[in-house]
Symmetry: C2
């Protein structure tokens, strides 16, 4: 059975103080339904990807919560896997359509973070980490800083090369009307920004964001759909929550495993991918992703990114994070994995405007939970 | 494709102050694996049903959390739908096996509630309700008390009849070694217990509990499995989170819808069911379930329960909650929906000991989230 995305939409990402979760969900879902040319009554199940609503807002039961808001009495589920919640919601949605239980479902990724104090958000986000990391006072910038240090030591990766990831992603975000940031950056600006967790600086880190994204998934031909993209693979792998339990820290094993499975399921290799949306929660994370996904040999990605090999319009090996990524487009955690799909659909259908990747035919989305305990990969093709 | 439960296990339910979530998960999952005659390495995905770990313990990312504890690097997901989290995890597990993505998966339902102050637990549980109910200071005993008042007014249901539900379920629990309570109750004892939310008294309410339950789900014949039960239907429906938005309050529309779908999927009717585990978070909830599931006409269930029509060994219409239900066996919220399946498997395989239902061939599990915003129904047969 072939599974398709027939509708997709995202809200603007950013500090949306005047928007409610209900309003964001409506905008994303009804946008995706309009795109697919279907009505809410055609939706047979709703999958919600969200991490923080319980811890920050005291609201759980989000499947039913958003189903009510959308006017659905169909089955509704919240799927949670930290920052990979959106990708995991999509994975379960794909499986549910493949199972024959449902033939048309909606996946909604959503997070509302900026209504809360940043320190509360940082504490809540540590719910994605191990008990030792949480009780020891670790933060995600600190954990990724350790991964950066190891990469620098093992492969000679430089802080300037890491900065180049942020520079590229802000450039891409400047071309994306829905991105949180539209300002471009220089390597010098990144290097001069405050040190958060050495060697990571403020501008190596993705922001705290609000936003929602939604996609319609179906096995049917939907005649009114403006466009249709096939999901050629949906794959997930896990690893230990804590860094201390990992066999290696020069890459994320869960990403390597999920990538192997996704390439196997789709019959493709890394060479077939033209465009990728990857999980750059910190600049080092994009470097690790490039290598773990097989786009560049281990230790070689940072220099390639700095040389423009993954920048739109540069004719390089592959364009990465044309949306601006988590760094430039923003990172409302539960929404991110779904927004990646929305961006890839736009790219594969040639409607990505100024950030359009020439000849994009196959796209890959890579969504990570925590410091790599969960990795979700989807491969999409025209 | 036929889907089977080939292994099942539950921990004791209760105030397990010396047990950790990790330990409970290990006990339930390795018990279920031993029952199925398989190893952890045979497990292709893990579905975790849990509601409160984020709000009460600051720990999310539970799929990866428990995968690590169990020694799995397979895909792992947390599915949340308030007190229906266990049932929703099972539903998604069933779909994932039907999809062909995975052929053998484990569903773990788990909750650790008694380490926290009861008032904090009560507040966290309101995360299952609507914003108006939460901000207005409603509690779940209060919401179900309203449902009880309406049922009493419409159908003449009495407080003594409601008490009979607790009496029956404590009697069943007294026969279940894993139940939280082993003391039997009289109607008089229930009637004399403290009024919590009039007309509901303390002994009309399910307790705060710890516990875990796990099942192995597969489409394969597992030769070493001691026994095998088919999942003939898995169905979910939703309704508004808040009572104020419902069209009727004499029953739960989500249960009626999910039941219609489950009967349709299985080709069965209410008359085919010999044994049921239903969501008696409060005594009135079991009365509503009996009617919404079609076991008794609307308004007639309470008297039938009081007359022993659903008590084990009484030769009545159907045996309901032989485990002791949420009231007697306990209600660790994320575990409940999975424990119901464990009990039904025992019943259908004739190994339920003193609480064995004679000739049990078809069982139904009914798991509710909140005050009925989510309802999940599974039908199992030998």
């Amino acid at each position: 059975m072939k599974i398709y995305v027939t509708g997709s939409a995202t809200t603007a990402f950013g500090e949306l103080w005047n928007a409610s979760p209900r309003g964001l969900a409506r905008q994303a879902v009804f946008g995706a339904l309009a795109d697919a040319g279907i009505e809410i009554a055609d939706v047979q199940a709703l999958f919600v990807g969200n991490m923080l609503s319980g811890m920050l807002g005291g609201q759980e039961h989000l499947g039913a919560f958003f189903a009510e808001e959308l006017g659905l009495t169909a089955p509704a589920f919240k799927v949670e896997g930290a920052c990979a919640s959106g990708g995991l919601a999509l994975h379960n949605a794909v499986n549910s359509v493949m199972s024959g239980q449902y033939d048309t479902v909606v996946v909604l990724g959503i997070e509302k973070m900026t209504d809360h104090k940043p320190e509360d958000v940082a504490t809540a986000l540590m719910g994605a980490g191990s008990e030792e990391e949480r009780s020891g006072g670790a933060t995600f910038p600190g954990l990724y800083a350790m991964l950066a240090r190891i990469h620098m030591r093992e492969f000679g990766t430089t802080e300037e090369e890491l900065a180049a990831v942020a520079v590229k992603n802000h450039y891409h975000a400047s071309l994306n009307p829905n991105a949180q940031f539209h300002n471009t950056l220089s390597v010098e600006q990144v290097m001069k920004s405050s040190r958060i967790a050495d060697p990571l600086k403020l501008l190596d880190c993705s922001p705290i964001s609000d936003g929602a994204a939604a996609v319609v998934i179906t096995s049917k031909k939907q005649k009114k759909a403006a466009r249709r993209v096939e999901i050629a693979a949906s794959a997930v792998a896990t690893d230990s929550l804590g860094l201390a339990q990992r066999k290696t820290l020069t890459g994320l094993s869960a990403t390597q495993q999920a990538a192997a499975r996704a390439y196997n399921l789709s019959g493709m290799t890394a060479n077939d991918i033209n465009v990728a949306e990857v999980h750059d929660c910190f600049t080092i994370a994009e470097v690790l992703a490039m290598e773990d996904l097989g786009f560049f040999p281990k230790g070689k990605a940072a220099a390639a990114i700095a040389a423009g090999q993954t920048t739109v319009g540069k004719g390089g090996r592959i364009v990465v994070n044309p949306s601006g990524g988590l760094k430039g487009c923003g990172h409302p955690v539960g929404a991110t994995g779904v927004k990646q799909i929305v961006e890839l659909v736009d790219q594969l259908c040639g409607v990505a405007g100024k950030r359009q990747v020439e000849g994009a035919a196959v796209g890959l989305a890579h969504n990570v939970g925590g410091s790599g305990a969960t990795s979700v990969i989807h491969i999409l093709k025209k």
